[in-house]
């Protein structure tokens, strides 16, 4: 991995992904100042007529929903939930997964068997149905959605990390460190960890993608935080009010935003994979 490769960030598609991702993050950060209306305000036209399901144009750039709320404002503010949940969940997923994999692969023996059995069991659980149960029992809130997503998805990170650590721990530099008297913790986090960092970053990206899709899906089923607008909860409202047949301006934007954001993350991940593992590029 050359510094030049890092700075230039690989292929055109990777740069497109990075630009899209940056744009989404900027919008999420600046959302409160960009809002044309309060996302939860019920808007009226004229004296007392509810602005229900107004098509795009005029005062409402992307139209209004069934309750007379401005869709553009909801899209803008909804980006914060998707991106926030995505980033946080991904960090937790990777944190748990990397540590499980490091400890299992480094210590081998009983700890390894125990942790890998645990990982096998986590793989045996159908993720989304489990998430529905857990989030419903925990009461819908953003934090509970993050906990729910994170508590299963660490499994693939753990497996891949362990596989890499197994081969790394036999390498000369690790043996040299051991001979020099480095402690286990030092070997694991100072010597081995930097070598798996590229892969860890790849899984941060993949984790973001899965977390964003999971959050949207849970919110679509009505398990989102009722106080918070997210892209998933917008689609829940559109579906439950029976508006999907007549208000394309309500169903298209949230779905497109979710898809484009996930695409941007996958593009970055693919590019990163090429940088981290140059053999793939040939």
């Amino acid at each position: 991995m050359t510094e030049r490769g890092l700075l230039r960030f690989g292929t055109p598609s990777g740069r497109i992904g990075l630009a899209m991702f940056a744009a989404f993050c900027l919008v999420a950060l600046a959302a409160p100042w960009l809002l044309p209306y309060d996302p939860l305000a019920i808007n009226y036209v004229g004296e007392r007529q509810l602005a229900r399901l107004r098509p795009p144009g005029g005062a409402f750039l992307l139209g209004t929903n069934y309750y007379g709320r401005d869709i553009l404002s909801q899209i803008l503010i909804g980006s914060r939930v998707s991106i926030g949940v995505g980033l946080l969940s991904a960090l937790i997923i990777v944190f748990i997964g990397t540590n499980v994999g490091l400890v299992a692969g480094y210590y081998r023996g009983r700890i390894d068997a125990l942790l890998m059995r645990l990982t096998d069991i986590a793989f045996g659980i159908p993720f989304f149905p489990f998430a529905v149960l857990l989030v419903a029992l925990l009461k819908p809130s953003i934090w509970n959605i993050i906990i729910t997503i994170s508590c299963l998805l660490w499994r693939s990170v753990a497996r891949v990390t362990r596989a890499q650590v197994l081969s790394l721990r036999e390498r000369a530099f690790v043996r040299a460190a051991r001979v020099a008297g480095a402690s286990d913790l030092r070997i694991m986090y100072v010597h081995i960890f930097p070598n798996i960092l590229p892969m860890v970053l790849l899984y941060v990206a993949i984790g973001i993608a899965y977390a964003v899709l999971s959050e949207a899906s849970l919110s679509f089923l009505g398990f989102g935080d009722p106080q918070v607008v997210s892209w998933g909860s917008m689609l829940y409202d559109a579906y439950t009010t029976g508006s999907i047949s007549r208000a394309w301006w309500w169903t298209l934007p949230p779905g497109l935003c979710i898809t484009l954001f996930v695409i941007s993350v996958f593009l970055i991940a693919r590019d990163w994979e090429l940088i981290a593992n140059p053999r793939l590029a040939t």
Binding site: P126, F127, P129, A136, L137, L138, A209, S217, S245, V262
Partner: protein, 330 residues
């Protein structure tokens, strides 16, 4: 020969034990979740303040909630083993009676969807991996990227809006038309009505499922192209199509492994699509039961899905050992 058979039996026993362990952990986890977490069913029913104290006492006694936890847990396990899943709070019927038809409906949707996705993924993936031009590479990448990024429920909504609301070709949901009366000879074919309701959910599910088998097949095919047996087949003067079929047969193993993972992940899409298409399967039943706090049904629906996932994974593992002789020697 007998040594190999012994190894096979050992492997089978080990995998069976692991599957049972997974199911036991899940069953226990679910039991703990439903009793420890804030929204637990008994507080939900007893703690509403609407029941007089003596009624609460009687209910606690009837449900044996004052027994020690261990006794309650063992009783729960024993009931599960004999297939007694309890009574639904909402329907006031045995859970078994509610869940059995839902299971049938789920399989009715899932089996064709998964089968079509795998077959389509293999055929398309092999083709995209074989023709190694810039165009097919770009096309393959874009198809996979977009399909993997679409939320399952949104695919369902879009399919519904296009083919049902706009074009009017298919019903908007459900599994059969109420009071369906066949008018033409086509409509008299048994199962016609259900099949018509099945088209859109299967289409949406295939769009959602197909990306991963397609991608895996394409990668495997790219690798198979450089193998010696492909060069040999080409040297023998076989047609390009025949060589591709040989390479494809050899590249299919990773897809077989993937089917186990796919079924686990398919239940996620299944839950969402059943809700979008009002399909009366286990996923929708689970979501509705959770929302109505009908916990015995929610719990049973989840456990049944988990058992199916574990079972399919076991079957795939064993099939894989048969297909790939190298695996047997581990």
């Amino acid at each position: 020969m007998s040594a190999e058979a012994g190894r096979g039996a050992h492997r089978l026993a080990a995998r069976l034990a692991q599957s049972l362990l997974t199911i036991w952990v899940l069953v226990t986890l679910i039991w703990l979740m439903f009793r420890l977490l804030p929204g637990d069913p008994t507080t939900a029913l007893l703690g509403t303040g609407q029941l007089p104290p003596d009624a609460i006492q009687r209910l606690r006694k009837a449900w044996a909630l004052d027994d020690p936890w261990l006794v309650q847990y063992l009783r729960y396990l024993a009931n599960l083993v004999v297939g007694d899943l309890g009574l639904s709070f909402v329907f006031r019927e045995p859970v078994m009676k509610i869940i059995a038809p839902a299971l049938v409906n789920t399989l009715l949707l899932m089996v064709p969807a998964v089968t079509i996705s795998v077959m389509l993924g293999v055929v398309l993936g092999a083709r995209l991996g074989w023709r190694r031009g810039a165009l097919s590479e770009v096309a393959g990448n874009i198809i996979v990227l977009v399909l993997r990024s679409l939320p399952a429920f949104w695919i369902g909504i879009i399919v519904l809006v296009i083919f049902s609301y706009t074009l009017g070709w298919f019903p908007i949901g459900g599994i059969r038309t109420p009071a369906f009366f066949p008018e033409t000879w086509i409509e008299e074919i048994p199962g016609y009505d259900v099949a018509r309701h099945l088209v859109l959910p299967v289409l949406a599910a295939v769009l959602y499922f197909v990306a991963d088998p397609l991608m895996i097949m394409r990668t495997a095919m790219l690798e198979a192209r450089t193998e010696d047996f492909v060069a040999y087949a080409q040297a023998r003067g076989l047609s390009d199509g025949d060589v591709m079929r040989i390479a494809r047969a050899n590249a299919m193993l990773p897809v077989v492994t993937y089917v186990g993972i796919m079924v686990s992940f398919a239940f996620g899409g299944q839950v969402l699509l059943e809700v979008v298409f009002s399909w009366p399967g286990m996923g929708r039943l689970m979501v509705n039961s959770v929302l109505q706090r009908d916990y015995p049904v929610a719990q049973a629906a989840f456990l049944l899905m988990a058992v199916l996932v574990v079972g399919v994974n076991l079957a795939v593992d064993l099939a894989y050992a048969r297909l790939d002789p190298r695996i047997r020697d581990d």
